[in-house]
């Protein structure tokens, strides 16, 4: 029903909570437990602060290249909160909020952005694939996870994230085509943050919406206000129900905005106006979600201040710990290439160890 009503060709965008934190569509408010709402909000605050600090540390030369999430929190948390523990999360690279919600620790996340593979080694029970840097290739990973779930008869659904620019990639098409051909339990969230690095979405994609790309695959697509956590939740929850019924994948376009740069290496002031950024500032997902929770009597300004304080402390403590964690061991760079070291790798590792022993450490 939802997907029929919000057929992408009808020019509608799903919104439940407007930018002032007011419910604009009573009938569609999803039933979300208080605990879940609060976990979403806690993660949002933690994610926002971690993001701000990561940028700051990068400017201070204490952090490597980082891809900020600021502005895209609701697109991620609204969707991931509608998923089950048993579901798989398949990332692009700008999904720290979704990762944190799904059980990746802040420490692991910072470790990754500080250039350590252990930051992609999540705990055993966390069904999250590591960050995927090449564009678009994660969609078929999700399709494969979903295929296995379907064949084994388990109730797992794979949710994958991609940016608007990523939908230009051939692998997006291949993965979507593959998943739709076999009705796989998969959900793809396009975080349409308006820019592919510096190139505006309108310059690279002719289609009016990104949601309508679903039509080519014979599956539902829906355009959602990506800064509205309730709308993102509802769309994802509905897509998940379809997936579990064996009806196949769904494509969800979250219309959002990347408040920061693509990564710390680019300068958005070169390619967009401040006025545009200010307009999106008014649509901030965090502010509207907080307002909603306060109106619902789930939250207070005082509690919010405390949460900000404890989150800030958590972020700073975690970062310091990670910053002082040092280099990986020599053995570590060899050990995970294959199940066991090949004779050649043994030789290469031994050679370097001898060099270090004879000439002293670097």
């Amino acid at each position: 029903m939802l997907f029929e009503e919000f057929d992408p060709l009808k020019g509608k965008t799903l919104q439940i909570l407007d930018q002032d934190g007011k419910i604009v569509n009573d009938k569609l408010v999803p039933k979300i437990k208080k605990d879940t709402l609060m976990k979403m909000y806690h993660t949002m605050v933690l994610g926002r602060i971690a993001d701000e600090k990561a940028l700051q540390f990068q400017r201070q030369g204490r952090m490597l290249t980082y891809a900020p999430n600021h502005g895209q929190e609701a697109a991620q948390l609204g969707s991931i909160a509608a998923m089950d523990d048993d579901d798989w999360l398949v990332l692009a690279f700008r999904e720290m909020n979704a990762m944190l919600y799904k059980g990746v620790t802040l420490e692991q996340s910072f470790l990754y952005w500080l250039g350590n593979e252990w930051g992609s080694r999540f705990n055993d029970d966390v069904k999250v694939l590591p960050i995927n840097v090449p564009i678009g290739s994660q969609i078929s990973h999700a399709a494969g996870l979903a295929y296995a779930a379907k064949l084994k008869g388990t109730k797992e659904v794979a949710i994958a994230y991609i940016g608007d620019g990523g939908t230009s990639h051939g692998e997006f098409h291949e993965g979507m085509s593959f998943a739709s051909a076999y009705d796989l339990p998969m959900i793809v969230i396009i975080q349409n943050n308006q820019y592919a690095i510096s190139t505006p979405r309108e310059k690279t994609i002719k289609s009016k919406t990104l949601a309508q790309k679903a039509i080519a695959y014979g599956i539902p697509g829906i355009q959602v206000d990506g800064n509205d956590p309730l709308a993102m939740y509802l769309a994802t929850e509905t897509a998940r129900e379809r997936a579990l019924k064996g009806e196949g994948p769904t494509l969800i376009e979250a219309v959002t905005y990347r408040m920061g740069p693509h990564t710390t290496s680019d300068n958005p002031k070169l390619y967009r106006e401040d006025s545009e950024v200010e307009e999106w500032e008014k649509k901030d997902p965090l502010k509207r979600f907080k307002k909603y929770l306060i109106d619902k009597k789930y939250w207070t300004d005082k509690k919010d201040e405390d949460l900000h304080e404890t989150s800030k402390k958590e972020v700073l403590d975690t970062f310091k710990k990670v910053e002082n964690s040092g280099e990986v061991d020599l053995e570590d760079i060899f050990k995970y290439t294959y199940e066991s070291l090949t004779p050649e790798l043994e030789k290469q590792m031994k050679y370097y160890q001898e060099f270090l022993n004879e000439e002293g450490a670097k």
Binding site: S140, H141, G144, Y147, A148, E171, E174, Y336, T337, Y338
Partner: protein, 324 residues
């Protein structure tokens, strides 16, 4: 024991693996109903159903990429690239993901998956159907690459690849898919990945080859009065350096024969290892006989490109005449 071609041997390996292990799935373009353009997978869909043996969209990247997801989620995918020349759209997946997931996740995820691809020339095929691209795959850390040259090895290596915890690429020499038969065991068995095969012991020269060219080397040596030690490398990566060095130390001469392009090809790597570890045992400069560095010619010109027994004999004579 039963007499089988390479093609039948691979089919038997897949069949037995699927029978033994429910998690093994086989898919690719036209692989299910038709059994593949070479019929390597014939009969499997009928026996194991469309869930485990299926035809895919013509989308090599999705074939390799979905195998990544399946392997992470408990299956053992054995996928087919219809021709090695068409594996290139999947190269991104293979290099950026298939080869790296174990390392990226510090061992949390590993990919027990197999990619099969027919390769090589000599069958008068269309453009992009005849290349020998083993260098591209052997160069990438995290991948294993095997090339059988006999029905016995074809079955044993395929079995070993399916049971291997790491991703294995099998390049199948399509020129000899049906060229000859061999008596091979009916029961499942493995040929160890990473070990070369001693085709024939000898003392005058070491000749290293793989795939369809092993037989061409054997043919060539029948025409010469030279006692060659012939090694079928069998696994291109990780390479059995020990077997090569041991042999070269005995013979003092080495010729590497491969269909892959000469420059930067596997022979360059093999000869480097010989130089590093057996230089002072050499009685002549190592030689390589390889594909010319040209786009593989279409059938009317392919005769010039294909390495013949005569050419191999010519190289061996030159090498034997040389003195350090």
């Amino acid at each position: 024991m039963a007499v089988k071609t390479i093609l039948q041997a691979i089919n038997e390996a897949l069949d037995q693996a699927m029978e033994k292990d429910e998690s093994v799935v086989v898919y690719g373009e036209d692989v299910g109903f038709e059994g593949g353009v070479f019929r390597t997978t014939a009969g499997l869909q009928k026996k194991y159903g469309e869930g485990r043996v299926f035809d895919t969209p013509i989308a090599e990247a999705a074939i390799a990429g979905s195998a990544v997801g399946m392997a992470i989620n408990g299956l053992k995918p054995v996928v087919e690239m219809q021709f090695s020349g068409f594996s290139l759209p999947a190269y991104n997946q293979v290099v950026t993901h298939v080869a790296r997931f174990r390392n990226r996740s510090r061992g949390k995820y590993h990919l027990p998956m197999v990619i099969r691809m027919p390769y090589g020339g000599g069958v008068k095929a269309l453009e992009h159907h005849s290349e020998s691209l083993e260098t591209l795959y052997a160069h990438i850390p995290g991948l294993k690459l095997v090339i059988p040259s006999t029905p016995y090895d074809a079955k044993g290596l395929t079995m070993a690849a399916i049971n291997d915890p790491d991703p294995v690429i099998i390049m199948e020499p399509k020129r000899i898919y049906r060229a000859f038969k061999q008596d091979i065991p009916d029961e499942p068995y493995e040929v160890e990945i990473g070990k070369a095969r001693m085709v024939k012991e000898g003392k005058d020269i070491t000749i290293i080859a793989w795939g369809a060219l092993v037989r061409e080397v054997e043919k060539a040596m029948k025409t010469l009065d030279v006692d060659a030690e012939i090694i079928d490398l069998r696994t291109i990566a990780p390479m059995d350096t020990e077997a090569i060095i041991k042999s070269v130390k005995k013979t003092g001469r080495v010729l590497v024969v491969h269909e892959a392009y000469k420059s930067f090809g596997p022979a360059a790597e093999i000869i480097s290892r010989v130089n590093e570890e057996a230089f002072f045992y050499l009685e002549a400069a190592p030689r390589r006989l390889a594909g010319f560095d040209v786009t593989v010619p279409l059938p009317k010109g392919e005769g010039h490109f294909i390495i013949s027994p005569e050419q191999i004999a010519y190289e061996v004579k030159k090498l034997m005449a040389e003195k350090a």
